[in-house]
Every structure is written in C-alpha cells, then in structure tokens.
Amino acid sequence: MGTRDVIILGSGHNALVTAYYLAKAGLKPLVLERREVIGGACVTEEFHPGFRSSTLAGSTGPLLPQIVNDLQLQKYGVEFIKPAVKVCALNLNGPALSIYADARRTSEELASVSSRDSAKYPEFVTTFERIGRALRPLLTLTPPNIDAPSKRELWNLGKLGWAVRGLGKKDEYRLLRYGPMAVADLAAEWFETESLRAIVAARGIFGAFAGPWSAGTCGQVLLQAANDGSVIAPAAFVKGGMGALTQALAKAATEAGADIRTNAEVARIEVADGRVSKVVLSSGEELPAWTCVSSHDPGITILELLDLSEWDPGFRTKMQNYRAVGTVAKVHLALTALPDFLNTESANADCREKLSGRIHIGPEIDYLERAFDAAKYGEFSPQPYMDITIPTLTDSSLAPDGAHVMSIHAQFAPYGLRYAGLRPAGSGVAQESMPEACVPEAWDSRREELGDVIVNELSAYAPNLKKLIAGRRVLTPLDLERTYGLSGGHIHHGEMSLDQLFAFRPVIGYARYRTPIAGLYLCGSGTHPGGGVTGAPGFNASREILKDLKAG
C-alpha cells in the first residue's frame, strides 16, 4: 500500500470536486459509486419514457466560481441557464408575484402590490449583497479547531471579523440579530406583502425540519446570501439537467487523473492501528487505502461503514445525536403540454417566462408554518409548501417536442410517519409513557397517497394539470435514503441548524473534514458549509487532505 492510494466514497458533486483537486495535485484518487450512474443527488434520470429530470437537486447553489474556473466546466459542455425570473409565487385569490434577477424590474412588479415594499426592495437587495460579500470568505474557510485554534485560524477569523466590521454598525447589528432569528421575523421586518414575506421565508426552511417561526432559520438565508449575494435563491439550472454538471465534473476529474468505478458498493472501511487501511466492497473485493474520503453523509460514514466501537465512544454518541430527519419529497410529472397556470393560456410568452424560474406555492407565512406543523407529529402536510420547476421551458432536451417536465420539491414529508398504536419499547420504558412511533417504512404504503395530495393541491392552481399527466414519479424521504443513500432522507446530509453549522458540522472537534481515524476524511454536505450544489465542502476538504499529505 502506498501513501498515494486515495479512495473517494460516492460520486456526488462534492466527491468529484475533491477528486479533481486531489488528482490535480498528482494523486490518483479512485472514486467508488454504488449506483450504475454517477452524480449522487445531482443526476438527470429518465423517469418516464422520453422524459428526463433532475431527480433530486434541481438547481445549483450556485457552484463556487473558482470551481467553475479551475475545472473549466464550460469546456466540458456545461451550460448554465439563468432565467430572468428567479421565482414566481402563485396565489389562488390574487395575481401571481414574480421576483426577477433584475431588482429594478422586481420593484416595478411590487409597485402594483405595495408601494412601501416596492421602495424597500432595492435596499433589501443591496443590504444582503453587502452582508453576503462580507460573509463569502466563510464558505471556503476551514472551521477552526475550537479547543486550540492555530495562529493562522485566528488570523482568518480576524480577517472575517474585520470584513464584518467594515460593514458598519448598522449591518453589524443586523448580522448579530439575524443570526439566531426566525426567518418569519426577518421577512416581516422588511416587507408588508404577505406573499413576498413567504417567498423570503421559504429559503429559510428549504429542506429543513423547521417552520418560518423556528428560531435560527435566518442562518440558511444568510448562507444563501454568502453564496450568491441574495436571500432569494436564484433559479440556476444546467442544460441537460443537473446530471450534465456531474458528468462534466467527472470528465474534468478523470482527465486530471482520477479513476471512477460505478456499481461498486462499499461494505465497510477497515482501520488498522488508528489509521484507515482498506475499503471493502460488498462484492468482497478489498481495496487498500492510505487515505479514504467519504462524500456520504456523516451518519452512514461514521455509524454504518465504520466499526467505531473501540474508537472514541464520545464521538459516536455525538454522531448518534446528529439530527438528520428529512422533510422533503420530490414528485416528477411527465406532461403532454404546459399546464394553464396563472389563470391564463400558458401558451403566451409572458406567462412562459414567469414560469421559467422557480414556482413557489405557499402564499402566507402561516401556510408554511402549518405545513411544518404536520411534520412535528409524523404526518405529511395536507397543504404542502412547494418549490416547482418546469426545466423544459428553458431546456427542450429533457422531453419530447411540446411535452414538458415538472419537478416538485414538496415539504413537509417527514422521514418517519406516525404509525397508529405502534409504540417503541424503549429500554425498560413504560410503553404508554412513550409517544407513538414514527416509522419510515410506512411510506411504502403511502407513497402514492402523497403524490395525489400534491397533484390535487397543484390542480387548484393549474386546473387542467391532471389531464396532462402522462407519467408520475414520487420520491419520499425513504426513497431518498434507499436509492440515493441520504440517511434520514435529509437532502442536506443533516439539519442546517445553528448547532450543526460551521465548527459544529457535523460535530464539535471534527468539523475540519477530519475524523478520529487518521486518513479518513469527510467531504460531503455534512461538513461546512453544508448542503446545496456549491461544491464548497469538497473544495475545502481537498485542501485539508493535501495539507495533511504534505505534512506526511
């Protein structure tokens, strides 16, 4: 075994980014993908004959600019599609509200709803551009060693602090207040239009086990701002679906010298004297590894692939307490034509433009909060919050001529569903003093029921929808776990709550892409700065790995 043996588990966008940078540095990383297709949660798949969609992630975070440049993704045929409309909020009793990439155009649109909000919007945009710019370095910063921060780490934090100071008192105070705040309060602080408030709040609960009134939901919004300078996430698609992006990342990585194997399921990671020794496939094949980088979520990596019993039990306990309860279901519809949204013949160009970004369903803060309430009690929302895309409006390659694909991100669909009468027999716990159990398997009998709820709700906005459905695929959190290996079905590899961010992601002491096992690293969304197709975790992880290898 040579010190150059590097094995990367999983082939999602973060894994491939890591693979590229390690290969670029002269290593020969081997990427192992369990499925027949690479890309992890960043894939394009045919869900109905002739109809393809981005199965999980539908839009980039966006990707870190330096990654786009370093890997020369354009060269590999990546074509980013940025519709003029970021998001269009549908409203049953009133006109739709569109937020455009162009702030001025948005203000004009808002003028018809509220002159106050119309006037405030530009300030809103510039404020979070400023704050986002100051926070941006955070994304590519390795969280400091909390117990013994190095001079360099303190220096980097100092620099960040200085950048924040540079914002001036007003923004500093904003940042201090927003950090732990509920996103519903943030939205209300800026705007009076309910549907605009809901659009802003939605980003704070995207993929989270939280409602707009949950404290800390501003955190995700600030991360979004750090990412692309806006709290209202853009619609940032990729031509050919998100799979095209990971395909390009793979090309870049292989050309740089990485090898990629599909249909290679890892059974376990073996450790010898505190260091990774080999990776064992379920086929029984053994691959020696001096360095092993897992892009899987921390739950799988630490609790399933590793036998930690003799290593640091405290770490194991912390990992068991790591919260990763998914709340997202995806529904893909194959449509024979564009549904009539916005009470109009969707044929008309203006309408097609409005629908070409993200379509938001969740007219009020209370609507979003109610949708969340269900999840707390192990039920899926009777009226879910939905973030919908019709990629075929900007990318005809995904469906037959004239036909369309509709991808629906629906919340809340909790990983475990309440199972009447079933109570877990905890260790010597009087059973009746335990709440009813929530079991993921319950989804197997209720998957299509959820699909129906979503289609029915949507039909209220697009009356002719049902007639146009040629095919439908419903993915519950259970499916996200089974098929895509997201434990708990959590699309961010774990809750992005304040106690699980930065130096605490996934857990304190191991937030620096390293683990208690020498040579074992994490590079997935379960590490700083978390979920979303940004590539940042992979980017940071590769930097730390190379640092260690140099140090020898």
Partner: protein, 526 residues
C-alpha cells in the same frame, strides 16, 4: 427645593426598587415613583378576595441574586424564602412523574419510568451545573458592545472568549447547544421518557412565544441549576407573604438607605431639556427633577410614551418598535375551600406542596403552542400550579387555600374577539383542563381571578402582556437587549437609564438588572 433629586426611579417593581436601594446606599437622593397603589410591579401580593392573598403575577422565586439578598440584608427586612419542593406531573393514563429536591428519591422515581434516564439524570445534572458556573458571572456583567472599539468592551469579550476556551470540548458543545437548540432536541440527547422531557422543557417556554420544539428554548433549562449552585435556596422557592413580600423587603432596604418611595404617582412624560432628561411630570401635573432618570418600565412605555419618538434617533425608534413583546401567558388565581384531589395521586399528600405541572407529553406542549401561533389561546394549555397556602398559611383563611395557576399559551393578539370577551372562556378552559386530572376542582372554587395578557398590560404596565418586558429570544439577549448598541443600561437620551427586565439579563425576579444599572449610573456620575 424639595422636588429635586439625584435620581428618579420610574416604577416600583423589584428591579426599580433594587436600583433605588443601591443608589441610595451610595448616598444618592432617590425618589421612586410607582403608578399603582401598591409596590412590587409584577412581583406583588394583593388581597384580591377578603382573606385570600394572591401573588397575582409572578408566583415563585428562583433567581433572586444571592449577592443582592446579602448586600441589601433582605432577611432583616422581612424576606423569608420557603422551599417549594418538587414538581408533580399527573399523566392521562393515571401514572405520574414526581421529581423532588431529594436527588436519590427523584432518581428512583425516574428509574420507575426508565432505567437509562435515571442514569442519564446524574450526568445531566453534573453537565448543567458546569454550564451554570460558566453562565453565572455573565448575569452580573454589563454587556459589551461588539460593534464598538471601546477597549473595555473588547476586553470583556476577550475574557468571555477565554473562559469559553477553558471549558472542556464537551462543555463547549453543551454551551453552544444550550444557546441554540430547542429544549426537546437538547433533552432528546439525554432522556427517552416523554413526560420527563415534556415537564423539563416546560421551563424553556415560560413567558416566550415559542414551543418546546423551537430552537433557543434549551437555554432556560439552565436557570433551574442556577439556584442550586448559588446555594441560597434550591431551584424554586416561595416567599412568605407572597411574592410582594420580596418587593416590600427591598423597599424597606431602600427606605432605610434614605430613598423616598411614592405610590399612586402615574408618570405622564419624562421632561427633557436640550435633549437631556431632567425630570418627570405626573399625570396630575406635578413635576419632579433629577440629574438621572432611571426607568424600570419597558422600553415601549419609556421611549414611545414617556419620551416620544420625535426626541429619539430614527434607528433607535425602529429598534424599539421592532422589539418583540408578544405576551403568551396568563394567570388564573383561585380561592379554594379545600385541596384539589388528583386522580394520579389522591389525597392531600406532599406532592401538593410543590408545583403541579400539566405537561403530560411533548406533543401536548407543542399542540398548545400551535393554537397560539394562529391567534387563539390553547384549547388544552400548559399549566403550572402552586398552592402557597400549604407552606405559608398566612395567605389564606384557616382551612382555606389559594392556588396560583400560570397558564400558557394565551397570545396577546387574538385572531377572533378580544380578551375582555374571552376572559371567562379562558378561565373555564383552564379549570376544565385541571379537572381532567383533579375532577373535584370545580366544586371547591370559592373565587376565581383570571389575568389575561391584556390585564397584564393595563394593570401592570407590561406591554402586550409580556411578563419579561420583552421576549427572551437570542436576538433580544445580552448585547442586543433591548436594542443593539443600547444594552449598557444607558439610552440615546443623556441621563436617562434603563433598569428593568428589558435589559440584560432579562426577566424573572433576579434583581440583577436593577443592580447592574445602578453600578453603571454610579460609574457615569462619579
């Protein structure tokens, strides 16, 4: 001129009185002006019905700073804290959870529900005491302003950082989790028994517009251990003669030090000259002058009503308007002919001498919150009951009892109707909820006083009925309380200070706010 003082303290609540006492002891000529006929603010005892003395609002003592008890020599002035032993939680299935101060007993009781939890309970206790030790000094410090370059402030921040550094990795983790997690998520890491988590997490939501599953509620779990480490008394206690007796003791200490205290003196305006506070004018027109005005009432009253927007910087006005009150709780005070009889533990046992908590499950608590979120009081509320007359017979006629029921949630803003219409309906809901566990309650009620958030606002001057003068959420704590840049008891108006619960370290009968503010005033006016 006898209407000229060194300091005028607005409001005769416990913080106002503590503030006055410390200033008077430092030789200042102090005048305290209280709007009501009785002192104490929300820490008050009133004979609402002949022979029955109620701690109308705040009803238990947990955090009164020991150094204040010591320095103001409160026992000599009549303060006597009686133990309130344990919390009894009846369950719908006839079982119960009964935690008492006797650790071994509690351990056995918890083991009855879960062996694992009994073991975890010890570690949990140890960890929390560690945390409490870390947080305690923060109570008495003036929050630094992180946005200023003032060396003292930066030094304070640095010192805090250093102290945090010194914590073990696990303790650091606990600290961060306590500040950011929900009470239930935090407790999930330690315990499995639902009713235990429900009852413990209840302390995290008191006075806030949050649910037991809302992030930020874990922090208050610490407060129970603060009392412990201070050693003055266990985590919870009752004051002989009701909570008002605390205020009276503090008032005595203040008077002894030379402070003048007047009741029935509602203030209309704070007098300004060239933008500086110079006195107050009462609603009857009387004027009093002072070099320093120290207000213990909440910022909305102090600045929006008594000062007036036009005299304040725009940003500050925005901050105060944005400051969240959102009262979420009410009180039902009962005069009883006999003791309630709980199905889960019949008879007048020692379990009635502690608190009785209606918090049977986490879901029960969370659903109570859901009602409030959408603008109605909980159909089945969380209730914390105390029967002080069992430990302190002086508050009720012989053989009779007073029962104090703290009720959550009762949102200040109702979607339908108003609190004047809903008052009795709310009262009935509370009685019905109690009756589910103690059916005899309906037959033993002699009198009933229902205190709604609206009453708290009207009667006790708590804006939106928030018992802590503003929500205790992270973005309104420490250097953000009540407004960023104004967390050091000063205000944009020269010579106008804040000393109430709307300042660091927040609400509850602590007195730290009044004491810290006094220190700041004395420092400025040396």
């Amino acid at each position: 001129m006898n209407n000229k003082y060194d300091v005028i303290v607005i409001g005769g609540g416990h913080n106002g009185l503590v503030n006055a006492a410390y200033l008077a002891r430092a030789g200042k000529r102090v005048l305290v002006l209280e709007r009501r006929y009785v002192l104490g603010g929300a820490a008050v005892t009133e004979e609402v019905f002949p022979g029955f003395k109620f701690s109308v609002c705040s009803y238990v003592v947990s955090l009164l700073r020991p150094e204040i008890i010591r320095e103001l020599d409160l026992p000599r002035h009549g303060l006597e804290i009686l133990p309130l032993d344990g919390t009894f939680t009846p369950m719908p299935n006839g079982d119960y959870l009964w935690r008492v101060n006797d650790h071994a007993k509690t351990r056995r009781e918890i083991a009855r529900h879960s062996k694992l939890d009994a073991e975890a309970y010890d570690e949990y206790g140890k960890a929390m005491v560690e945390m409490a030790h870390f947080v305690k000094p923060v109570m008495n410090m003036t929050p630094p302003d992180p946005a200023s370059l003032n060396p003292k402030g930066l030094l304070d921040l640095l010192t805090m950082g250093r102290r945090f550094q010194k914590l073990s990795s696990d303790d650091k983790y606990n600290q961060v989790q306590l500040m950011t997690m929900s009470a239930v998520d935090f407790l999930d890491q330690w315990f499995e028994t639902d009713v235990l988590k429900a009852t413990m997490s209840a302390s995290g939501i008191i006075g806030t517009f949050l649910g037991v599953r809302s992030p930020g509620t874990a922090y208050v779990l610490l407060h129970h251990y603060m009392g412990e480490i201070d050693g003055a008394f266990r985590s919870w206690g009752l004051s002989r003669g009701g909570t008002g007796a605390i205020s009276n003791a503090i008032a005595e200490a203040a008077r002894e030090a030379g402070a003048e205290i007047r009741t029935k003196t509602p203030i209309a305006k704070i007098l300004l000259r060239n933008g500086e506070a110079k006195g107050v004018v009462l609603e009857n027109g009387d004027e009093f002058y002072a070099d320093v005005i120290s207000s213990s009432v909440d910022p909305r009253l102090t600045f929006m009503k008594m000062v007036g927007e036009e005299h304040l910087p725009e940003d500050f006005v925005d901050d105060i308007k944005r400051y969240k009150f959102r009262g979420s709780s009410g009180k039902v005070n009962l005069a009883l002919d006999a003791l309630p009889d709980f199905k889960a533990m019949p008879g007048a046992g020692p379990h009635l001498r502690g608190a009785v908590s209606i918090s049977p499950s986490v879901e029960y608590m969370e659903r109570a919150y859901d009602d409030a979120k959408y603008g109605r009081f909980s159909r089945r509320p969380y209730i914390d009951m105390v029967i002080p007359s069992l430990t302190d017979p002086s508050v009720a006629p012989p053989g009779k009892h007073v029962m104090s029921c703290f009720v959550q949630y009762a949102p200040y803003n109702l979607k339908e109707g108003n609190w004047d219409e809903k008052r009795e309906e709310f009262g009935d809901t509370v009685i019905n909820t109690i009756a589910e566990h103690a059916p005899n309650i309906r037959d033993i009620i002699l009198h009933r006083q229902v205190v709604t958030p609206l009453d708290l606002e009207r009667e006790f001057g708590l804006s939106e009925g928030n018992i802590f003068q503003g929500e205790l959420t992270l973005e309104q704590l420490f250097f953000l309380r009540p407004a960023p840049g104004w967390a050091q008891y000063r205000s944009p108006i020269k010579n106008l200070y804040m000393c109430g619960s709307a300042t660091h370290p927040g609400g509850g009968i602590m007195g730290a706010n009044g004491r810290n503010a006094a220190m700041m005033i004395l420092r400025d006016k040396k």
